[in-house]
């Protein structure tokens, strides 16, 4: 990471983001640039004119780029007022299963049709006056282009989201500059959401029109030319024929004439955009509402409500009978699959970053920033003890609990790791979601927790500093540390997770 920045942000943007190939063409820089020097055109970011002729100093395009290190913690402040936070889900109010009541919407969309139903409802109620979504291009239905929807009918052509990059942030700028829209709903993948939140944290004037941010749950985006090339060569599927794509543990392509082609994940993995391979955000952690498919349920979507404004819109849609909800606890397998996919993305990202690091290749500054702390953060963490940071109320499980029962508990409380405590209240191990995921589905009913729990524990004492704990987590590559009594190492006093640490870093800024 560079300590000082160039006076003209574009120089940094070019050197650290565009040249290493990290740009995902989200178009946030285009939307933000006050002199319109940048333009996303034909799968390329064009530098239309030399901005240094107009400004002597300008930090904007680099600041708002979702892959730059600037403003990362500030963007978190949009969701930190939510009461709950969990690893791999982020800050949230509640998680539910939902579907659009209108069956036409469900048919057209990938899953529950919740995003479209929400947007149509919001426009009808006058909550927003337009929405920015991804829309497929006519001739090549799979290529996604951003669209500005003005009336409810427009939205129906844009319900199916696909896994290709598109410049929705650019469309946002367009909506404000060219259409003069004042209340806009924004729909995008996690990186788009981060871009728009950065614009908001930067207090750019175009975000005054931003009303609500709906994030999509996204595994990876694919490089369009590379993937279509590959599909044509190997499976004889032309880009124009593809009607829709499902991405889960398998990559399924449905063509217009009803042919279904499944491609295994490792095969398509080679065509994932480089930047997506390093991205950890599966659930659009900064959005007001995050929505994604609820595999294996076909007609439902998982909805994570994070902010007050998101909650208000969602509740009003439920009240107006536009959206139907279901408790997620009823379907533990949906949640399990969901978290599993999140972990796949996260672990792949961590591995990819490490691999690149070893080879000496560039890493996007944003991801590098998330891994390293800056001096002021280190001093803050060193000044705090574990006791001040830890969560005291620890949910524990008994060794005789079966894996299935634990999954039900997990679906209810969304914690990813539980200490195992015997009848005498003595700590004997810890069980995490990763351990459960290794147990095959058919064995989950019979397997007991004590069989799979980790017995060798990494623990810390309440007097330890938060910095020591953070280092310990990184050293052992774990997400949580149990805080135990010094005199009796089997007595749990609290737990510290990585999200607790991030939250602590956020906290001094919030009180300011």
């Amino acid at each position: 990471m560079k300590a000082s920045r160039d006076l003209i942000a574009y120089n940094d943007l070019k050197r650290l983001i565009i040249d290493p190939g990290f740009c995902n063409l989200c178009g946030a820089c285009e939307a933000a640039c006050p002199i319109h020097a940048l333009r996303v055109e034909k799968n390329k970011l064009e530098y239309v004119h030399d901005c240094s002729e107009y400004v002597e100093f300008c930090p904007i395009c680099y600041d708002v780029c979702p892959f730059s290190e600037a403003l990362l913690l500030e963007t978190l402040s949009f969701v930190t007022d939510a009461p709950k936070r969990r690893e791999s889900i982020g800050y949230y109010r509640k998680i539910v299963l939902a579907q659009a009541v209108d069956s036409k919407l469900r048919e057209l969309s990938h899953s529950g049709g919740v995003v479209t139903a929400l947007l149509i409802h919001a426009i009808k109620k006058g909550f927003v006056d337009s929405a920015i979504v991804s829309e497929s291009e006519e001739e090549v239905p799979i290529k996604v282009k951003p669209a500005i929807s003005l009336v409810p009918d427009d939205l129906l052509s844009a319900v199916d989201y696909k896994y290709f990059p598109s410049s929705v942030a650019k469309a946002f700028g367009k909506a404000v500059h060219e259409y003069g829209k004042a209340k806009i709903a924004f729909v995008g993948t996690p990186c788009h959401v981060r871009a728009i939140r950065k614009l908001e944290a930067w207090e750019h004037k175009i975000v005054e029109s931003l009303k609500i941010v709906i994030g999509l749950i996204c595994l990876w985006s694919f490089s369009f030319p590379k993937l279509t090339e590959f599909l044509k060569r190997k499976y004889n599927v032309k880009a124009g024929e593809i009607q829709r794509i499902d991405l889960n543990k398998e990559y399924k392509i449905l063509t217009k004439n009803g042919k279904v082609v499944s491609v295994s994940l490792p095969e398509v993995e080679a065509h994932i955009l480089d930047i997506c391979k390093m991205c950890e955000d599966f659930t659009s952690e900064l959005a007001d509402i995050s929505v994604g498919g609820a595999h294996p349920l076909k007609d439902w979507s998982i909805v994570i409500i994070r902010t007050e404004i998101g909650e208000r819109l969602f509740e009003s849609a439920v009240k107006a009978n536009v959206i139907r909800v279901k408790n997620i606890e009823e379907r533990a397998e949906v949640f399990t699959h969901f978290v599993e996919m999140g972990l796949i993305k996260k672990n792949a990202a961590i591995q990819e970053i490490e691999r690149r690091r070893k080879k000496g290749r560039a890493i996007p500054p944003a991801f590098a920033r998330l891994l390293e702390l800056v001096p002021s953060e280190i001093s803050l963490l060193s000044s705090l003890t574990a006791e001040q940071v830890m969560t005291r109320k620890v949910m524990t499980v008994k060794p005789q609990t079966t894996v299935e029962e634990l999954l039900t508990i997990m679906t209810k409380h969304h914690h990813m790791g539980y200490p195992v405590v015997n009848e005498k209240g003595k700590l004997i191990g810890i069980v995490t979601f990763e351990d459960i995921a290794k147990v095959p589905t058919e064995k989950r009913k019979k397997t007991l927790i004590k069989e799979i729990a980790h017995k060798k524990l990494v623990t810390a004492y309440p007097e330890d500093s938060a910095m020591e704990i953070y280092e310990k987590m990184n050293k052992h590559k774990i997400g949580r540390i149990l805080i135990v009594d010094k005199k009796d190492p089997q007595k749990i006093l609290g737990i510290i997770t990585k999200t607790d640490i991030i939250h602590t870093l956020r906290w001094p800024m919030k009180t300011k």
């Binding site: 006076l7 933000a32 006050p34 002199i35 107009y54 400004v55 002597e56 100093f57 300008c58 930090p59 904007i60 930067w202 207090e203 750019h204 004037k205 005054e208």
Partner: protein, 114 residues
């Protein structure tokens, strides 16, 4: 007939003209008066001074140390500066009584307070 009616009506009603310094009307919404800078929001990009058609804005220094000099006597109140500011640091106020006997008094300086 109508003309007499109108004449009597006009004779009895108050004149439309206001006796300005003593009687005032609030400027309408969207009125472009003297622009003011919010230096807490200013990033010092200098776009306002670049875009100003009458050269009324001068920027000294770059980035956070930037100082804004605004010459009200050159300003034509077009509002381009407020329009161009990416961070809404400039607002057009409704202040319009800006004349003065000395040019020095018609210079406004804005500086970031630390």
């Amino acid at each position: 007939m109508a003309i007499i009616k109108e004449a009597i009506k006009q004779l009895l009603s108050r004149p439309v003209t206001l006796k300005y310094p003593f009687e005032r009307v609030a400027p309408p919404e969207g009125f472009r008066g003297r622009p003011v800078w919010d230096m807490r929001r200013c990033i010092g990009c200098g776009l306002c001074s670049k875009i100003c058609p009458s050269g009324a804005i001068e920027i000294i220094g770059k980035g956070k140390e930037a100082k804004i000099k605004y010459y009200v006597d050159r300003c034509m109140f077009c509002g381009q500066c407020a329009e161009s500011c990416p961070r809404n640091a400039i607002a057009m106020t409704s202040e319009f009584e800006l004349a003065n006997y000395s040019r020095e008094k018609m210079l406004y300086e804005y500086e970031r307070e630390f």
